[in-house]
């Protein structure tokens, strides 16, 4: 997809811009995770073991596998080698017990700094040790004496990681990159390099891999996730099945059978169907309300209020609510904003992307599979994004969706913990735990966002009003919005690094990619969020009161967003674009403090 590639370069540009220390050479570097033609031959292995006998044996064995071997008997030395030649090795094999450094510690470092697959080895095969290895991120644990056949297969770990990262990259695009970059900015050069490498590698892999994987990118391979990630493709299958069956006669079992996704369960489909129904009803409402909406498919939508409320609510919620609630509710609107914001660029925090939203308009269209939607979105975008452009900030996104798990989680982890988060991050979003935990919103992240977040001024009444108005949206929005909210949350939860902020402003391109990525995330998050509760809370916060003038606009955008939602993949992408920050801000302005106001007014208000 055009959009996808564009953001990457922009992202790269961002990275470079903000990480002047980083040399482009890294990216240009041919050994940047690009597999050799005769892969796995030539696999660059670094072996670390204090036992000289084993070191020699392994060297010989690996050479027999036609790998490129570097041996090292000290862990510190190994780390130096790895740092000196970033992207100079494909995989690391290390012994667990070493005199100068614990093997697990080395494992952690490598995972965080270089994000290389690490294989642990030991003569001790005790389950607890093996478990520890896996916990620390080892991709395999070999027992000495090691057999040739075991070494012949180590390339699979490299390959798997590449695919995994490519997939993740596809999903999250710059989102991930930005995320990494952000972390990188906090960390040392190593971290920066790490981030960049990851982006570049991911991109390369992505290009190599081609299109989006049919299955969920993140799951189900993720060990931590228990929920299904409704990727674009998956949702499209779902929608296709639903349409085939006939919306009236649809049922989880029928859908499941038609979809023919082996690992999907009836429960997964059932909950998704519920959300989808809510989404449709919301859209219909908005459709009914809005005569000018283009392309919206009419359905039996209930009142249109929901849409606007949702929007409002989300805004309000965002301001106030640290929880995901607001995000969930606002989904379309909020998410749009979030998505649009730089977060896509790689910054999970949608906040940044505000400015990009305007630009994203075109991006969205690219991503949107549904041309109809695209057009309608475009309409919305053009109209409403103008204000956005002026303002780089999307106050909306400040929501600190707790549900944004993947994104929020990761950044939080990373920020808090030294490098551990990298490991998690690297694990790709799939690994990101989708818990319902609430992450504290870190206002720092984006300035614009921060301002909004910092002063949640949602009034109680508004909240109450919102809740009453839109129960329907909550569920669905949660899901679809989650991606956006995730972004928002992610943004919030992570203190914005200067680098990351910058990223947001940079290119709009990545946003689309991020959107897609976010979307996925969103879906994931959705599952984790205790949806209904959150949404209801959001509703309450939304407060119907302010939305009057904006309703129409909101609906419009809401619809737009909704349409995207339908396309899952597109939704996220589209959402941000369609999201008219102006609308949101308008609604929310009265809710927010003066600080927020300024932010909101500038970019968000729609006339």
């Amino acid at each position: 997809m055009i959009i996808i590639t564009q953001p990457f370069f922009e992202l790269t540009a961002l990275i470079l811009a903000y990480s002047p220390s980083l040399s482009l050479t890294k990216m240009d570097n041919g050994c940047f995770s690009s597999p050799r033609r005769d892969f796995p031959a030539g696999l660059r292995v670094l072996v670390v073991d204090d036992d000289p006998t084993w070191l020699k044996i392994l060297e010989k064995m690996l050479k027999k596998c036609n790998y490129e071997v570097t041996t090292c008997c000290l862990a510190r030395h190994a780390l130096n080698l790895l740092r000196e030649r970033k992207d100079g090795y494909d995989i690391v094999i290390s012994d667990v017990n070493m005199p100068d450094m614990d093997g697990f510690k080395l494992l952690e470092h490598v995972g965080l700094e270089m994000d290389l697959p690490v294989i642990m080895m030991s003569v001790d095969g005790e389950t607890s040790r093996v478990m520890k290895g896996v916990q620390h991120g080892a991709c395999d644990y070999l027992l000495k004496p090691i057999r040739m056949k075991e070494l012949r297969n180590i390339w699979q770990h490299v390959f798997r990681k590449r695919i995994h990262e490519a997939k993740e990259f596809e999903s999250f695009e710059s989102f991930e990159s930005i995320h990494l970059m952000r972390n990188g900015s906090e960390l040392s050069d190593d971290g920066n390099l790490f981030a960049i490498e990851d982006v570049s590698s991911a991109k390369k892999r992505k290009d190599a891999d081609g299109k989006h994987n049919d299955k969920e990118c993140l799951d189900p391979s993720s060990t931590k996730k228990a929920r299904v990630v409704w990727s674009v493709d998956l949702h499209q299958k779902f929608v296709k099945a639903v349409n085939q069956i006939g919306f009236d006669k649809v049922g989880p079992k029928k859908i499941l059978d038609l979809m023919n996704v082996p690992w999907l369960t009836r429960e997964n489909v059932a909950s998704h169907l519920q959300k989808y129904r809510l989404y449709l009803s919301r859209i219909q409402k908005e459709n009914n309300q809005r005569s000018s909406s283009s392309g919206m498919k009419p359905s039996d939508f209930p009142s249109k209020d929901q849409g606007s409320f949702g929007f409002q609510n989300s805004l309000n919620k965002q301001q106030n609510d640290v929880s995901n609630d607001s995000y969930n509710y606002s989904d379309g609107s909020l998410q749009v904003g979030n998505v649009e914001t730089k977060s896509h660029e790689g910054d999970p925090h949608g906040i940044v992307s505000q400015s990009t939203i305007a630009k994203k308009g075109r991006l969205l269209t690219g991503n949107i599979a549904d041309t109809n939607m695209r057009d309608s979105l475009r309409v919305g975008l053009n109209q409403h994004f103008a204000p956005l452009e002026s303002e780089g900030n999307h106050p909306v996104f400040n929501c600190s969706m707790p549900t944004q798990y993947s994104w929020t989680e990761v950044p939080c982890m990373q920020l808090k913990e030294e490098h551990k988060s990298y490991v998690h991050l690297e694990d790709s979003f799939s690994k990101l735990p989708l818990h319902g935990k609430q992450h504290p919103i870190h206002v720092d992240q984006s300035q614009s966002v921060a301002s909004i977040n910092s002063t949640p001024s949602i009034t109680e009444e508004e909240v109450a009003a919102c809740i009453e108005a839109k129960p329907l949206f909550t569920d669905y929005k949660n899901d679809y919005a989650s991606s956006i909210s995730s972004i928002g949350n992610a943004v919030d939860s992570f203190p914005i690094q200067p680098g990351s902020l910058i990223m947001n402003d940079q290119s709009s391109e990545p946003i689309s990619t991020i959107n897609s990525g976010l979307k996925t995330q969103g879906y994931n998050n959705l599952s984790f969020i205790s949806d209904l509760e959150l949404y209801q809370r959001n509703l309450l916060l939304g407060g119907e009161a302010n939305t009057a003038p904006l309703d129409e606009d909101l609906h419009f955008y809401w619809l737009q967003g909704e349409r995207y939602n339908m396309n899952f993949g597109l939704q996220h992408i589209g959402m941000p674009e369609y999201y008219d920050p102006g609308l949101v801000s308008e609604a929310a302005t009265h809710l927010y403090d003066s600080n927020d106001y300024s932010v909101i007014e500038q970019g968000l208000f729609i006339a």
């Binding site: 204090d50 006998t53 084993w54 020699k56 017990n97 003569v123 001790d124 004496p145 040739m148």
Partner: protein, 151 residues
């Protein structure tokens, strides 16, 4: 000595090492790694092992002398390294003794450690002698004789 005879002798020497449970599959693996680039690979590895392991043996002996109290953690760590090294050449019986020693370490049984180590040293020395004799003969016979399987 007749070359064929020597070859047969080498072969039977090796076989007896396996039959007596002194060597395991790892030794065969090492032989499999031997090729034109490293025609004496197995011997090199064995030599390397004995150089490294003798250092460990001394350390363990030293540590065993500390009786009050006996540093079991240190002993366990040293023995872990020793076991790893022994596994590199496929020293089966020696490895078994290592396990026993570590059991005593974990149990905090000083006497058990000392006794076990004595036994271990016996096995260690015995295997070393046999391997030295084996390689000596093998070298006389010729490099191709030491490999029991094609590369």
């Amino acid at each position: 000595m007749d070359k064929n005879q020597s070859r047969r002798q080498v072969a039977s020497m090796k076989q007896s090492l396996f039959d007596q449970g002194l060597l395991d599959e790892q030794f065969i693996q090492l032989e499999g790694l031997q090729d034109d680039a490293n025609p004496n690979f197995v011997e090199e590895i064995v030599t390397l092992h004995y150089r490294d392991s003798s250092r460990l043996i001394s350390s363990i002996e030293q540590a065993l002398k500390e009786r009050n109290p006996m540093d079991f953690n240190k002993l366990d760590t040293l023995m872990h390294q020793f076991k790893g090294s022994s596994s590199s050449i496929g020293a089966k019986k020696v490895k078994a003794e290592c396990n026993l020693f570590r059991e005593y370490c974990r149990a905090g049984n000083a006497e058990g450690c000392v006794r076990s180590f004595q036994q271990l040293k016996k096995e260690y020395v015995a295997l070393r002698k046999k391997l030295e004799a084996y390689f000596q003969l093998a070298r006389q016979v010729g490099p191709q004789e030491t490999a029991c399987r094609s590369k």
